[in-house]
């Protein structure tokens, strides 16, 4: 469904994303993990049309979307959420979600019905008429998810929807994401919460210093020495193995 080929993004002399190859197959939940500053959000932004890559290609359903603007990519069925939530602050929850729904219909009543349906999926029905700038962090994350979902995507790019949530809230949103996948939406997500990554993903990619260093099932990636060293520093994998032996 999504094919990323040799994608490279530079900021001046800094290579934020370097020749990344990855693919997401329909129906999967794929995750992207990596230490802070690894280039995950940059990679997402380059895929979704917010940044212009310096090299490589991004294909959705076999067609290159490299030079398309984000709204065109959204119309083709791929939508992203933002790590730092970007609500329409002066609007209430319903109006926020309706903006997403309007990407598929020009009819106000239809858009409203769709927004209410999506609000139910993410569990925001009781907050429909609350203004977005008065929402809690957890609710804003849900709103971000709901708005994206209202555009009826085939592929959803989620950028750290669990950051800043407490364990209960994380469990709830994991269930929501699973529910979304079950409705036929493919999901590609950036996440730091390992428990959720293991729980959710079919496959995981690991990014470090802009390069992919590992991929596979979440369990295999988590025990991969290269990945452990990327997170904890040189020699950490050996030390952990030693600790395990004693």
């Amino acid at each position: 469904m999504l094919e990323v080929k040799q994608l490279t993004k530079r900021f001046g002399g800094l290579i934020a994303v370097s020749t990344v190859d990855l693919s997401v197959i329909e129906g999967e939940i794929v995750s992207l993990i990596g230490p802070n500053g690894a280039g995950k959000t940059t990679l997402f932004a380059s895929i979704a049309g917010f940044l212009k890559p310096d090299g490589g290609d991004v294909q959705l359903h076999g067609q290159s979307i490299l030079n398309l603007k984000p709204h065109k990519i959204c119309q083709r069925g791929m939508v992203r959420t933002f790590q730092i939530t970007q609500p329409f602050a002066a609007l209430n929850t319903l109006e926020n979600i309706m903006v997403g729904a309007y990407s598929r219909t020009g009819d106000k009543a239809l858009a409203q019905r769709e927004a209410e349906r999506v609000a139910d999926i993410v569990g925001m029905t009781s907050q429909l008429h609350q203004k977005a700038d008065g929402l809690t962090v957890a609710a804003r994350k849900r709103l971000e998810l709901a708005r994206a979902l209202a555009t009826k995507p085939k592929l959803l790019l989620l950028d750290e929807v669990m950051a800043g949530l407490n364990p209960t809230e994380i469990d709830e949103i994991v269930d929501v994401i699973k529910g979304i996948r079950d409705t036929g939406v493919t999901i590609f997500l950036i996440e730091h919460v390992m428990k959720a990554v293991v729980n959710l993903s079919d496959r995981t990619y690991v990014l470090n210093d802009g390069k992919l260093i590992a991929q596979g099932t979440p369990e295999s990636v988590a025990s991969n020495p290269i990945v452990i060293e990327a997170y904890l520093g040189h020699g950490a994998a050996a030390a952990m193995a030693g600790e395990g032996a004693t």
Partner: protein, 322 residues
């Protein structure tokens, strides 16, 4: 009675009163003040569509007004085309100018103060141009002949212009009401609140902003024709006056940004304050100071404009009742 029905009834009544006002008001002065209030509300609404709803503040809104005034006047003087047709060409020219300025600035990603300044620069550029080229009459300006009749959009009694301005005002209110209910309006508001998120959610932000500035331009063009036919004289400083650019944003901000009735309420308050200050204060210039103080007060204490104040008190009442 539901709130909606109550509002509809209220607006219906207000419209009826406005429509019948000339029957009761025989004073030319008061009719003229009302005409001016409606005209400012109309041009304020044109600014409000791009500035209040879409969040793109412009300091050069007068450019559309001036271009419309010159368009219909030149058509009349040089080509003998009556303003009743000229006004439509003025609307088209305004919209076209909006497209041009919008395309150049939005395409290159100008936002906020940069966009505001570029519109100011365009308005100034047009003023200088109108001063220098021949077909605008240069610095001498253009004189229009007084020949009352619907064809020329000129009227013997002030009542005619009163209804003309009321007609424009109603059109502007209908456009704003449509924005409140339509997808396009919701998309403009989304752009105002967060342009990047709007783009991510499938909104063609460039196209929407272009449509908004074209509507503003078209409305401004018609306002230009109105002015030219009412006062029968235009020159570059009048047509591209910074004061009018400021006035249209002022009435929107004072009344309430991004609201249907904000520009009208702002216009009523500003004109009434202005007239009252002028009536009671004889010292020249002092009335302007009073006017300024009241403005400062409104802007500092009512960030959401007078409409915001009204909503706040009504909200409290509803909370209290529940």
């Amino acid at each position: 009675m539901t709130l909606k029905a109550k509002n509809a009834l209220l607006f219906g009544l207000a419209f009826l009163v406005a429509a019948l006002a000339p029957v009761g008001i025989s004073s030319k002065f008061y009719l003229d003040v009302l005409t001016l209030i409606f005209f400012t509300a109309y041009i304020g609404q044109s600014w409000n569509i791009l500035g209040g709803y879409a969040g793109q503040f412009s300091f050069g809104g007068v450019m559309f007004f001036g271009t419309g005034a010159y368009t219909s006047s030149i058509l009349l003087i040089t080509f003998g085309i009556p303003p009743i047709f000229g006004i439509f060409v003025a609307v088209l020219m305004g919209a076209f100018l909006g497209f041009l300025v919008g395309y150049l600035s939005f395409r290159s990603g100008l936002r906020g103060s940069y966009f505001a300044l570029i519109t100011l620069a365009f308005a100034e550029l047009l003023r200088v141009l109108a001063n220098s080229v021949e077909f605008t009459g240069g610095g001498v300006g253009l004189f229009l002949t007084y020949a009352p009749g619907l064809k020329n959009l000129q009227f013997v009694s002030p009542t005619g212009f009163y209804y003309f301005s009321l007609f424009l005002l109603v059109i502007s209110l209908v456009i704003a009401l449509w924005l409140e209910r339509s997808r396009f309006g919701a998309q403009l508001v989304a752009i105002r609140e967060n342009e990047e998120a709007a783009e991510a959610l499938g909104i063609d932000t460039l196209k929407c902003k272009l449509y908004a500035i074209m509507i503003m331009g078209g409305m401004g063009g018609a306002a230009g024709t109105f002015y030219a036919q009412k006062y029968l004289y235009i020159d570059p400083p009048i047509s591209y006056s910074i004061a009018l650019s400021v006035e249209m944003l002022l009435v929107s901000i004072v009344g309430g940004l991004g609201t249907v009735f904000g520009p009208l309420i702002g216009s009523i308050v500003l004109h009434v304050v202005n007239e009252v200050a002028r009536h009671f204060i004889d010292t020249p210039g002092l009335s302007l100071i009073v006017y300024g103080v009241i403005l400062i007060f409104i802007i500092s204490y009512l960030p959401n404009g007078l409409v915001g104040l009204f909503r706040k008190t009504r909200g409290k009442k509803e909370d209290g009742g529940a």
